[in-house]
């Protein structure tokens, strides 16, 4: 189980970075360009969800890879 936790840690890091890229480049950028009413979701994607998911998931993944959740998980 500990090995699975560590391997999945890499997935969480990749997911965090991938989600950040998807939200900012694929979703928010076209919305910033179109402007108007689309600015509200653009702001949400760029300044709230992307940093939260990227930083949070990557840090969580890093802890998983380094075995922080191996023996002390609750």
């Amino acid at each position: 189980m500990n090995t699975i936790k560590k391997i999945l840690g890499i997935l969480w890091i990749a997911l965090g970075i991938g989600a950040g890229y998807y939200l900012v480049i694929s979703q928010a950028l076209p919305l910033w360009k179109s402007g108007g009413n689309d600015l509200v979701p653009a702001i949400i994607y760029t300044f709230i969800l992307a940093p939260l998911i990227t930083l949070g998931m990557s840090t969580f993944g890093y802890y998983a890879v380094t075995g922080e959740f191996n023996s002390e998980s609750k």
Binding site: K5, L8, L15, I44, I48, T59, F60, S73, K74
Partner: protein, 519 residues
């Protein structure tokens, strides 16, 4: 023993009533978003005004984690009781003040600025309140009953929502539409002052949490709760685990079942506002006791399995349930009574201009009793060289009793998922962190998961549906096949994807707890 039981009942009810009022205060803003948009924002562009109101509503969610940090720190430094008394007064004051703000027509841009400032205060207050109340009740509860006792706190968000909808419906019913539009909408906000006063009186005689008192006597109070909670890997990893393995999924399940379902009924199924709110209130009322049931059950079989089951059910059944709701009222599945179809056209002058407004009202009845009404408003400009504003269309359905009960059944299923994911989570979170940093540490993941991932869900989902519909229209105009077979379900991708990730993380990384409080 009897005395102790009474004390615990008092503790739970005093904590719950205050938290309930804070949720009420927080949600009346959202429930009145349509009318607020016409009061506090320029009315020349109703869509932009509504989106600005939603953005202001969302700002309250985004700021909740900051409230968790500010008041969580205070709660871990000076005590739980005093901190959540402050948040109660702050919330009540902000809500009351929103009810007093003059309209945009009276004070111009100051109106939306004041609304935003007070909405931020509401978010900060709620960010501090919930963690305090949950911690306070949990620290009074025995290990074997903590899930059951804290589940009463878990009912407050739903009951607060029910009361906010109920107060608005009663206020609307007690006056004409014009009076409600003129001043009646202020009543639910002003009523908050009375509720907060009652809660303050109930709460002021409460004593401090015994675990906090003990920690204080032993000198085991954190000098810097923020640093200890988030600056040390040992705690930060649990904060992240709580967020990505529990509260993120729980928040999405909560807001999909209780908020987006309402938006879906009104905006996508086009059901009359009052009828949709009635359906929601009945579904919520039937489902609410399940919070207590699953909270109590978590004391017997553990928190993890119940919370994760709620998330998994949402992931698996959201699309079928929302599809069923959509098809229940879909007019293409019903037979129109041709003789009842009416089309009325009325041209009225627009005050202060030489332009006019053409209002076309189409109405019809269906064989199953469903009533359909569509109002199309088109502005006719006197100056033909100028571009006329986009036509405003509104479709409203009044559905029959059978469909109504089908929808109530669907809402009940959604609420039951909410109660599984949310009922045991307060006990789960307080058991994850030690007394000296509990308030701070549990509040932040809760308010990021519930407030940000969950709170923004209805806005994001609505946007995704609009985006899918627009893409289909463009494809149709270009003579291509539609890109989305069911654009009305596209909004569900967001909660389904994130709740699925949360389920996997929770399943693998969270160990079933022994239901003991960390020291």
């Amino acid at each position: 023993m009897t005395h102790k039981k009474q004390s615990l009942a008092y503790i739970i009810s005093a904590s719950s009533v205050g938290t309930l009022i804070e949720w009420y205060d927080f949600y009346i803003f959202g429930s009145l978003a349509t009318v607020l948009s016409t009061k506090f924002f320029p009315t020349d562009n109703p869509t932009a005004a509504f989106l600005n109101t939603l953005a202001t509503f969302a700002a309250g969610f985004v700021v909740r984690p900051f409230g968790a940090l500010v008041f969580g720190r205070l709660g871990d430094l000076i005590g739980r009781k005093y901190t959540f008394m402050v948040t109660l007064m702050l919330m009540g004051g902000a809500t009351f003040a929103i009810g007093l703000i003059p309209s945009y027509a009276s004070i111009g841009a100051f109106a939306p600025m004041l609304v935003l400032a007070l909405r931020l205060l509401q978010g900060l207050a709620l960010g501090g309140e919930y963690g305090g109340a949950a911690t306070y009740v949990a620290e009074h509860s025995p290990d074997e009953k903590r899930g059951f006792y804290t589940s009463w706190i878990q009912t407050t968000a739903t009951v607060g929502l029910i009361i906010s909808l109920g107060v608005i419906m009663i206020t609307k019913a007690s006056m004409t539409k014009e009076d409600f539009d003129a001043f009646g909408w202020r009543i639910p906000f002003l009523l908050s002052a009375l509720m907060v006063l009652v809660s303050f009186i109930i709460r002021r005689n409460m004593s401090e949490s015994p675990l906090f008192e003990k920690a204080k006597e032993e000198g085991n109070i954190s000098a810097n709760p923020l640093k200890e909670s988030f600056g040390h890997k040992l705690n930060l990893k649990y904060v992240l685990l709580a967020l990505f393995g529990a509260t993120m999924g729980q928040g999405l399940i909560w807001y999909t079942g209780q908020f987006y379902a309402q938006t879906f009924l009104i905006k996508i199924c086009n059901i009359d506002d009052t009828q949709a709110n009635t359906i929601m209130v009945i579904g919520l009322l039937i489902g609410t006791p399940l919070f207590i049931f699953f909270g109590g059950l978590s004391d017997k079989i553990g928190r993890k399995g119940i919370m994760l089951a709620g998330m998994l059910l949402g992931v698996l059944f959201y699309r079928p349930i929302f599809e069923k709701m959509y098809q229940t009222v879909n007019l293409s599945n019903k037979e129109k009574v041709i003789s009842t179809e009416k089309i009325d056209r009325k041209m009225t002058a627009i005050d202060g201009t030489s332009d006019s407004l053409l209002t076309t009202t189409i109405s019809a009845a269906y064989t199953d009793g469903t009533q359909f009404k569509k109002v199309i408003k088109v502005t006719k400009l006197a100056d033909a060289t100028k571009e006329a504003p986009k036509a405003d269309e509104k479709t409203t359905l009044i559905i029959n009793s059978s469909d109504k009960w089908t929808l109530i059944g669907m809402i009940f299923f959604l609420i039951s998922f909410v109660t599984m994911a949310y009922g045991p989570i307060a006990a789960f979170l307080v058991e994850l962190f030690p007394t000296k940093i509990r308030y701070t540490s549990m509040s932040l993941p809760y308010h990021i998961g519930n407030g940000i991932f969950g709170g923004l869900m209805p806005a994001i989902a609505t946007f995704l549906v609009t985006q899918a519909k627009d893409a289909n229209k463009k494809a149709e105009a270009a003579g291509e096949a539609a890109l989305y077979a069911k654009p009305y379900l596209e909004g569900l991708n967001y909660p389904i994807a994130l709740a699925a990730i949360c389920f996997v993380i929770g399943l693998i990384y969270i160990k079933g707890t022994g239901r003991h409080m960390a020291e």
